[in-house]
Each structure stands twice: as structure tokens, then as C-alpha cells.
Subunit: 307 residues, 4 copies
């Protein structure tokens, strides 16, 4: 045979599970999109179509829903860990499991006093509105021995309306850009951060708190950096996380430079004093980089922030 099989994986992608937990009359909601990818001793199914080692993707879907009942969903990370451990430990041919999860956040709807006659006190805590465009993500990988947890977010759009410059760059024969001393800096953050935790013997991070704090530091670094380039802002965002969150060793960003071009109003006899901008779609600058704790190895793949 002149061809051979290389890396392969399979499973059910995008299982949409919503879990309601009742704490007295107060309901809590977890809303996830779970994708399972399994690999191991799978040569036969590729070469001959024998499914003797294949746990159906339908079964991996069922497992997601059953585990939501059996273990609950404490956090996306903890839920992914339960799933990955099960697949690797329960099936001989499966040597590695990778669970990817997207989480959508919901906040409570404030109810009205004026209409309190319509509602009992037990009814105010079961109504939710979906928050933000931003999606929280995590990826859990387990090979029977070591864990790798990479969490993050995507589609978090931020803007500084000043405190951004861009000048002093290389000019070649195709350069026409004018230097800017006060520009809008806007981006749609896609970030992934890798946890140091890799072993069941180690103390597991508090996944929910870690996410909230990491997001906060990232946003603050974006807001507080006086920017001479988007690369500089990216590095500040990454190092702020590494410096404040000891559980995180590595961060990678894809930051599209969402260009806001100052509109030329002179033809109409108007002066545009950094007031009116055209928000462009394409093309856009795309700045990508990894920021690492000194001494650790980089493991987040180059394109992970583009998924």
C-alpha cells in the first residue's frame, strides 16, 4: 500500500446542552455547545470499514446528555474533564479524548414592582436574557495520564477612542499610509490561555473564578495601555494575565485591527476633528502572538485562536 493513515479523530460535534439547576425557587442555567473528538486504535475503520473499535458518535452525544444529569455542569472545564476521563478510561481502543466546549452566558431579567400582583415571589428567578456576543470556550485534552486545559473567549469587541498612535514604521515603494498620532483602536478579541494544571495529583484551579479574573485583567490592560501599535497592546494584555494569574502559563491572541477610518469631510467644507469615522469590514490588519511565562514551553497551536 503506497498510502498510510496519519493523525485521525472522530466524534459528535456541537451537542447543544442546556442544564437547569433549581436552588429552591431560584433557577441556574448552564448553556453549552460540546464537541467530542476521540482517537486511538482506529486503523481498521479507515482501511477496511470495520467498526469493531468504533464507539458511535451517537453514543458520545448520549454521554454528554447523561453526564449533564449524572455530574451536573459545575463549569465547562470540569464538565469536559469528566467526559474526557470517561472516554479514555472506559474504552480500550480510545487513547485520547479532546473535548471542546463553547459556553453562552445568560443574566437575569429584573422584574417590576408595579406588576408584582402578577407574580409570586417564586417566579422572579427563572427568567433570563442572553448576554453579549462573546463566547467562552475551553478545550480539554486527556491521554490517560496528562491533562491539557486551554480556555479562552472569542468575539469580545473592544474599542479605545483615543490613546492610540501608529508611526515610525518601515516605508517601502508600496507604502502610502500616513502616520497617525491619535486614532481609534478597535479589535474583536480571540484569546486562548493554557493552564499549568496537567495532573490529577495537582490542585485543580477554580475554573469559574479564573475565567472572570482573566477576562477582567485582559480588558483592563486593553483599556489602560497607551498604544503605539496593536502588537504592544496585545503583549500588555498577555503579560497582564500571566503576571496576575499564576494558574496560567501561556496566552495566545488573534486581534483583528478593526479599522475605523477618519472620513474626509473637507470636500463639504467641514473639519473632522477625530469625530466621524467609517467602520470598515475588509481588509483588516491581523495581529497574532503568544505570550508565555518565562521558562515554559509554548503549546497553543498557531491557528487555535482562529477556530
Amino acid at each position: 500500500m503506497a498510502t498510510i493513515l496519519g493523525q485521525n479523530q472522530y466524534g459528535k460535534a456541537e451537542n447543544r446542552v442546556v442544564k437547569i439547576t433549581r436552588d429552591g425557587d431560584t433557577h441556574h442555567i448552564k448553556d453549552l455547545n460540546v464537541s467530542v473528538a476521540l482517537s486511538g486504535d482506529m486503523d481498521d475503520v479507515h482501511y477496511s470499514g470495520s467498526n469493531a473499535n468504533v464507539l458511535p458518535t451517537d453514543t458520545t452525544k448520549n454521554t454528554v446528555y447523561a453526564f449533564a444529569k449524572e455530574y451536573g455542569i459545575e463549569s465547562a472545564e470540569q464538565f469536559g474533564i469528566h467526559l474526557a476521563r470517561w472516554f479514555v478510561n472506559s474504552q480500550e481502543p480510545i487513547q485520547k479524548a479532546r473535548i471542546r466546549i463553547e459556553e453562552y452566558s445568560w443574566s437575569r431579567i429584573a422584574t417590576s414592582d408595579a406588576n408584582s400582583k402578577f407574580i409570586g415571589s417564586d417566579e422572579v428567578n427563572h427568567s433570563f436574557v442572553r448576554e453579549g456576543m462573546e463566547t467562552r470556550v475551553t478545550q480539554i485534552t486527556y491521554d490517560g495520564k496528562n491533562w491539557e486545559v486551554i480556555s479562552g473567549l472569542k468575539d469580545l469587541t473592544v474599542m479605545n477612542s483615543t490613546n492610540s498612535e501608529f508611526w515610525g514604521y518601515v516605508k517601502d515603494k508600496y507604502t502610502t499610509l500616513k502616520e497617525a498620532y491619535d486614532r481609534i483602536l478597535a479589535t474583536q478579541v480571540s484569546a486562548r490561555w493554557r493552564f499549568a494544571w496537567s495532573d490529577d495529583e495537582q490542585r485543580m484551579p477554580n475554573w469559574e473564578k479564573s475565567y472572570a479574573e482573566t477576562r477582567k485583567h485582559m480588558l483592563q490592560a486593553f483599556a489602560e495601555t497607551y498604544s503605539l501599535s496593536l502588537q504592544q497592546t496585545l503583549y500588555q494584555m498577555g503579560s497582564r494575565i500571566i503576571n496576575h494569574r499564576s494558574e496560567i502559563d501561556e496566552v495566545r491572541f488573534s486581534l483583528p485591527n478593526k479599522h475605523h477610518f477618519l472620513v474626509d469631510l473637507e470636500p463639504f467644507g467641514l473639519k473632522n476633528d477625530n469625530e466621524v469615522y467609517f467602520a470598515a469590514d475588509r481588509p483588516y490588519g491581523l495581529i497574532e502572538a503568544t505570550v508565555l511565562r518565562d521558562g515554559v514551553d509554548a503549546r497553543i497551536p498557531v491557528d487555535m485562536t482562529n477556530l
Copy 2:
């Protein structure tokens, strides 16, 4: 000629304008997507290609940006009114202008005390994060005499995790659905409401306050209605608005029933006590209706909430 021209309109669609206003060191942002549609004496350009009556769509785009400077953007509605009035009044052949605007909302990023050494006090008020998936919309129509303003929102996703039932319905030979006495009710609201204001002689509504209050009443009605059908919830949302907001005469909704199916866990020996749901994509129930102030005419088109 066996064929004739019917209704027609033209203009530049999706002009993305961002306006920064400086109030001392505090920046304010308005982020709009403006679409212009003009109609009037346009037979010639269709029949023969003569552009003698055609103000270029490029000019309508320029006007949007110039007006952002000349008038500012107090609200999407007020901005659309300036534009519509200009096109109809300044060009003889243009008899009607319809301005559609989407508005994206931004909130401020809270900055950190710990990092206050990096920032001056003037720097905390220029950093923003894009809010929500929800988009505010408005449509302004002007024919040189009368105004019609229809505002609303789309992509506002809400959920009640209880207080929803569905039973007592018609059963025919294709009916297999089981009655439900406690189900999740979730929808992605698309709503449009029409203002009574139609004349320059009348007092103009406070557009910003009206939007905030209308949205609040709609959300509260959704949360506080014990629902026997999504139609009932829709009607409560609409009548709550009409009853509380005297400036609004008519509301129309498209409410997709975003089905959350209880997963059957019995094959795995588990009981699903309204805990674990599968969030389905398609198909979905689609409930659409208009709610009117008694005595007024309905004018919002049937499919406007599907745009």
C-alpha cells in the same frame, strides 16, 4: 410597451458610521449602520438609463457622514429624521425617503485601581466593550408632509425555565406531540413599534428614553407572564408596551419558539426531572402578530420583523 415600472427605490445601504463625542475627557460613542432608500420621479433611469434625476448613491453615503458632523447623532431616530428631511426637501425629483438604521451599543470598560499608575484621570473614559447580540433598529419614512417612525430591536434572546405550559390543542391525524405542563419557553425577539408622532407640529418623543422603557416593559412582560402559549406571551408583551407607552400605537413581533427538548435519559437508567435539555436549531415554531392600540390603523408590514 407591454411592461411598466412599479414601486421602486434606490440608495446606499449599510453606511457604517461611528461618531465620537468628547465631553471634557469623557468620550461618548454612537455606532450606526445607516441605509438610505429614495423614491420619486425615476421612470427615465429605468426606461432609458438617463441619470438626470438620479442623485448618486455615493452622494447619499457622503451625506450620512457629513450629517454626523453637522448635526451630531443625538439618537438614531433623530439622525434619520435629519437625513430624510434633507433628501426630500433638497431634491425636486425625490418625493419620499426611507432611512433604516441599526444601532450597536457599547458600555464602558471599568479600569483598575491597582493599575492607576499607568493611567491619568483623563484616560478612563475612552474605553468601550460592545454589548449584547441585540441590535436596536429604526425606520424613518418621510414624504414631505408626514412622518412614520417604526423602531424596535432584533436578536434579543430570552428564556423562562418554567411557568410555561402547552396543552388543550387541536389533534388531527398527523398530531403526535405530547402535552406539556412545565416546559422551557425561549425565543429570540424581533419587535417593531410604531410611534404616533407623524407631524412636525406635534411634540417629538424622547427617542432614547422611549427605547429604554419599551425594552424594559417587553422584557418584564415576558418574564412575568405565566404562559399557556407563546401567542399569549406575545400578546402580553405587546399590550404591556401599548398600555405603558402612550407614544406608541402599534407593535409587531416575530417570536421563534426556540425549542428546548427534554432529553430522554431513561435508556441510561436516569430520571430527567426538567433538568437536561437539547437546544434545537431547526425547525422552530414561529409566532407572529401585531398588537394595536384600539382605534388606530395597523401599518407595520407583515414581514418587517423578519428583516
Copy 3:
């Protein structure tokens, strides 16, 4: 009660049905997305939540699948007619049915001679590749007496690389556009055409042939019109259809002007002789109009081509 119910409709949207028909060893495929909207005596469900008149949306979904078996899918139009008739005739409270259908087209994969040893002659006719970005659409409306059939397509992208000009237009104080004597004209056609057929007594059109011919005439008119404005091209496309297809009385188009801007290469010492273009996303000109057979009434709603 200060509020009343206006126009309303409900049903199951986006039922994805694929029908395989076997003609000996040759398989045929119909791939539809069917949306049902019913209206009638539905006050109670809105006012009080009583479902006594409500056929569940789940039942309308079941009916779509059952009818695919019972009637087959000869064409999207014929299938919609079966469904609309059933809902109105079988349920007393339902007075009107509107069926919207999207159809996705597939062509056959050509198989190889060299590999004929792998396949029997019965195997070559069951393999398909999805065609085009273009989607065929239809809307059937029935009130128990009269039929209205509006068919069309969307997302058909076309381009003329020459034979398009734009000049002689109105210039006001916001006009900066330069006249063009040779430009690219590109658009993404959304079209809807209304059939004269409205009564069971009349002879029904051949829906499949009508679609193929209408599409052909529209494309040819686009290609063959020397264009002085997109409005002129639109009118030619519409009148070509009306003049060639007696079964069609009215056509409406939304034609976004997908701008291709000539890139200024002079800063690099290069001449751009209508060779290198930047394909822009937003904003875009949007040209919309109805073309009618002389003497008939216009009935296609203004925004139908934007759905």
C-alpha cells in the same frame, strides 16, 4: 381593553425535508426547506392562552414529512399547493395558509471509467454534488378560494466586466463621485415573480420549466444589456421575463450594486487599465423595483426580495 390583536400567523418554520425517488437504479433528489404560516380564528390563544383552535406547529411539521411520502415532491410549488390546501380545508379555524419553500439544487457526480471495477452499473446514479450558492424560493398563499404563487431566487451573483457606464447624474454639495465610462457591474440577484394563476379552474403552469426559462431570460438580459445604470439593467431583466413568460405578471428585484473599485496604482508607477479591482463589502448601492405586465395590479410586497 385598550389593545387589540392585529394580523397574526403561526406555524413551523424551516422544516428540512429531503426526498429520494428511485427510478430503477437512478435516484432523484429534492431538497427543500419548508416554512408553514397559518392564520384564522386565533383570538383566544392570544387573549387567554386557550389552544382550542390551535393545530400545533409540531403537527404542521409532521404534515410536511407525511405529504412528501403521500404526494411526492414534483416541484416546490406543487408541494406547497398540496400543503396549503390541506391546512385550510381540513381545519375549520384556519382560513389562510402561507407556505414558503427554499429549494437547494444538486447535480450528479460523473464517475470514472478507470474505476469501473469498483462499481456496478446500478451505482453510478446515486451520487450528487450540491450546486451553486443560489437558492430557489417560492411562496404559496391560499385562502380557500384564491391562490397566489410567487416564486424566485436569491444569492445569484453575476458580473459584467465591461459595457457599463454611469454619468450624467445629479450633483449636489455632497457629490464627489467621478463619472465612469467603463466599469464593472456586479450584483447578487434577489428576484420574485408572481404567477397569473390564481384559481383551480385555470390551467396550472409547468413550474419546473417556468423556473428554468425565467432564470435563463433574466441572466441573458443581464448579460446583453449595455448598461447606463443598474436601474436600466433591472428593468431590462424584468421586462424580458414578462415579455417571454406569459404565466408571469409581475417581477420584483433587489439588486445590490456590488462595487468593484478600480485600485489607484499610480503611487507605485503603474497604470491600471481596468484590470485590478477592489471588491468592496459595505456600503453598497441598493436598487429595488417592480416590473409589471401593463394592466395588472402590483401585489409583491416591497421587502419580499429582502427576505
Copy 4:
């Protein structure tokens, strides 16, 4: 400093360039979306914001348009090679360039004889209609010495309406799936193949012919494989390419199993003899694997087919 910079790259993404070439009266079109990513000596811009080594992303955009004029666009691959070579060779700090290109295909509109009076013979060859949902892609990487070219396609949707089975799989306590002996097999192919060519001294492949042939072999293998699992079909598609195209050493696929579920029509007294299917959206099986020429190293990243 406790943090350091890891892998990083920057450039302008999604430059939409359309190139018209005139061969007498016949026009040819190339329609690309070009993304540039450069890396090299970029520590300073991240650490301090110094742009002294930074060629602006705006300049990389200009270069794309200028090169479309200077070199033409013979193929996406050849165009990417010109660009990558330029960036690495012309700028000292840039040590590596990665060019990603999407290509959209167009076919000619057939014009009508009946309307030949409207057109001259020079006019028939400048009208195009955009083909297919499928997008051709390529990625060119150059480090000043070696080339890596990975081409492919995405969004090519295919279906076999028979000759697919799935049985004999592992059953655990969460397994409920019934075995299938005749099912629809449908997928939306994302494929990437890596060329052996890596050196300017070697003879360059004929990129256009290679693409057409590779696509053909892939489609035929899909159509002609009697499938016991999607993994088996995938392997056949990959090995068919490797065996027929000596210029290609490695292929990777992501094949979502686009489930078509047989609808249960028994409640309606109907038999569904593999005729009526529900086309599901989510979740879906996802089968991913690399197929290699024996003896070569695998280099296509695991998630490249998910971009």
C-alpha cells in the same frame, strides 16, 4: 520580566482582489481573497511599541494590488509565491511569509441567439455567474529557502443516496443507535493537500491542472466507494488522490457527517421505504484524518481543515 514573546505574525487579512484579463474581446476573471502574515524580528514592537521593523499592514495590502498588475494572477498558488518571495527577500527583518488565498470561481453566462440584435460579437464574453458554494484555498509559506504549498477546498457538499451502511460498532451503556444497512451519506468536504514541491530548483507543478484533477479524483472516490463508515470513505478519497497525483504527498480532511434521518411515518399509517429524510443541523459526526504517501512526514496541522 516574567513573560516572554512566543510565535507571532502580522499582516493584512482578506484583501479582495478581482483581476480582469482581456484576450481580444474575451475577458477572463480571477477573484481572490488574499491574507498576508509576516514574521521575523518583531520583538521590539511587542515589548516597546517601536515600529522600526514593521512594514505596515496597509503596505502589504498595496503590494497585493500592485502585484496583481505587475505579475498577473496565473493561479492562486503562483500569485502567493510571488508575494511570499517579495516580503521575505525585500525586508531584512521579515524572515517568513505565509500567504493564504481563497478563490471564488465564475463561469460564463450563455447568451441568446434570439437577442443577438442587441449585442455585437464582442459582447458575449464579458458576462459571468458565480459558481458553487465551494471555495478553493491555498496557503504558501516561505522562509527564504524552502517552500510549503498546501492547497485544497472547503464547503463542497456531496451526498450518496445509497451504498452506505453502519453496523458492527462498539456498544456501551450509553449506546442507543440502531444499526443501518442502507443510509444516506452526506458531507461538506473540507480538504487540504500538501505538494511535494519545496524548492526553487524543482519543477513547479501545474497548479490549475493539479486542482482540477485532484478535485475530480476526490469526488469520484466519494461516489464510487461502497461505504461501511465515513472513515473508510475518507481514506479512499485521500488514497485516490495520493495514488493519482504524484505532486501531492499528504491530504487532510474534515468531513462532517451531515445526518439525514429517516422520518418515522408509521404514526400516520405510512411506510418510509428510504424515501423521506429529515436533514439535521446539529449535532453532527465529525470525521477527521490525514492520508499520507508512505515514507513522507505529516505536516498539515490538525485543525487546518477547520479554518
